[in-house]
Subunit: 299 residues, 2 copies
């Protein structure tokens, strides 16, 4: 990838970021040119070791000749400049690589803005021929779950030492996981933790169950196996048609979200903040005020 | 509070929960009867000790004769039935108390649903005369931050042992905190951590800065001071007018969100999922598909 392309990518993602994913003029040339990349969503609690794992995964993917785009939505990720834990060295290792593009997205705007921006960023990287796209979030909030859910595969990273992890499984992560990567398998109680996770899965999920895979990210152990599994998962999903089905569902969801954003934009183009302030000043209850706005608009 | 009222509250919150906060018919009788309660939003990373602190705060508030409503939006909270850490005993202590009402809200629906539901639940408890309302979330996601931001005061709970906490400060929490409660002050490095937090605040924030308060939730240490400060904060905000200003801003935001939800609901009433599926089948790019829907609607 040459530097002109890198600049184009950076510019396009910035446009998507600043327009909240609404402007299609500047993004129009990527249309029709997407769908080849394998998008891997990676999430998990803070401290589970996601960033370390992603580093190792990316290095392994590079050694397999795959080009990689990394989108870090986690504001505390080392990729985002919040490198408080000394991850800069490893980051440099990847950023100097021509086959890697790393982009962080700041938490901004409510209303699906970040969900839409990260999907746009993935589309852009996809259109530039990146074969693997990793999207990283911290998986506690609904927005963060929405973001990784829009991927072809979801990896949830957990680690044995924190009681949090068991709680995290409860927090809506089990439903979206294709793989549970249990990190830090070299600490005490790790095997027991894996059993707990597997037990919870068998107990709660019928039908297709997420795979549980042990890793030690700092040592790179289990990374090859994880990547093998993911690549296999992707190929199988492609040939079975489940990938297309999954992507179609995601597109329905995304079209809905976009239409909702557009209609809201339309709404506020004809109804200003001052107009709302007037309703507040008149002490009109919130639901009634909102109804009044809609009545006004529907006239 | 008698059991009839408890049943009414439970029913009203359920209606708010199931309707995504849209139905005002059933909630109409609470209109005009709200605004007396002091709403305290409490958030922080998983494992910071929020639930323990809230237990102690609630017990202290009860000993001051204040009635308390607790809304736990955190799906991993002991209040929600996810009591993996043996919090059941303390929970019982509160649930048997007539002056306490505890309600958990499940993570459901995107689109501001949970934000709206928790605001509704707070309004309902407010209308039934609860003097203090605590709303608890896990503060990493945008939705969770939105929820506590809709309160009269925001307490962010951190603990010294995890590197996470420093990252948490970066993750948008500093902007919304009125108080940083530093929990687990009896572990090593706690004082240093307090200094770090204070340093970050002074470095990054001009104008009014959040207060940093040390606590040891399990021992109940610092809880009285925290509550004194919060009560004082509330009284001062009331008399200075800053409370009204804050609430008006929140109302503007809420009216906007409600209007957006209503207009989206309108949209999907006239455009079905099958209609969207057709656009997907025709392989129309997502943004174009969304535009097409709007063109259709605006006809």
């Amino acid at each position: 990838m040459n530097s002109i392309n890198r600049r184009q990518i950076a510019r396009k993602i910035s446009i998507a970021e600043n327009s909240g994913g609404l402007e299609d003029r500047e993004l129009s040339d990527i249309i029709g040119n997407i769908g080849n990349a394998f998008r891997i969503g990676i999430t998990g609690p803070v401290g589970a070791g996601k960033s370390t794992l992603i580093n190792k995964l990316a290095l392994e993917q590079r050694s397999r000749g795959q080009s990689i785009g990394i989108i870090a939505v986690d504001p505390s990720s080392p990729f985002t400049g919040g490198a408080v834990l000394g991850d800069r060295v490893r980051m440099t290792e990847l950023t100097l690589d021509e086959g890697v593009y790393i982009r962080s997205l700041a938490t901004r705007g409510a209303f699906g803005g970040l969900t839409e921006t990260s999907a746009d960023a993935a589309d852009i990287l996809d259109s530039y021929g990146f074969e693997r796209i990793i999207i990283e979030t911290v998986g506690v909030g609904q927005t963060e779950i929405d973001i990784v859910e829009a991927c072809d595969a979801v990896v949830v990273v957990l680690e044995p030492s924190s009681g949090d992890s068991v709680q995290a499984i409860k927090a809506g992560l089990m439903e979206i996981a294709d793989v549970f990567a249990i990190n830090k398998m070299d600490i005490q109680g790790a095997n027991r933790f894996v059993e707990d996770v597997e037990g919870s899965i068998h107990l709660k999920m019928s039908g297709s169950q997420p795979k549980v895979m042990p890793v030690i990210a700092v040592k790179g152990e289990g990374v090859t196996e994880l990547l093998d599994y993911l690549d296999e998962f992707f190929q199988e999903a492609k040939s079975s048609g489940s990938l297309q089905e999954r992507r179609e569902k995601q597109r329905v969801k995304r079209i809905k979200r976009l239409a909702e954003m557009m209609i809201s934009k339309q709404l506020w183009a004809s109804f200003s903040d001052q107009d709302i302030q007037k309703l507040v000043d008149e002490n009109i209850p919130v639901k009634q005020a909102a109804k009044q706005i809609l009545t006004e608009i529907n006239k």
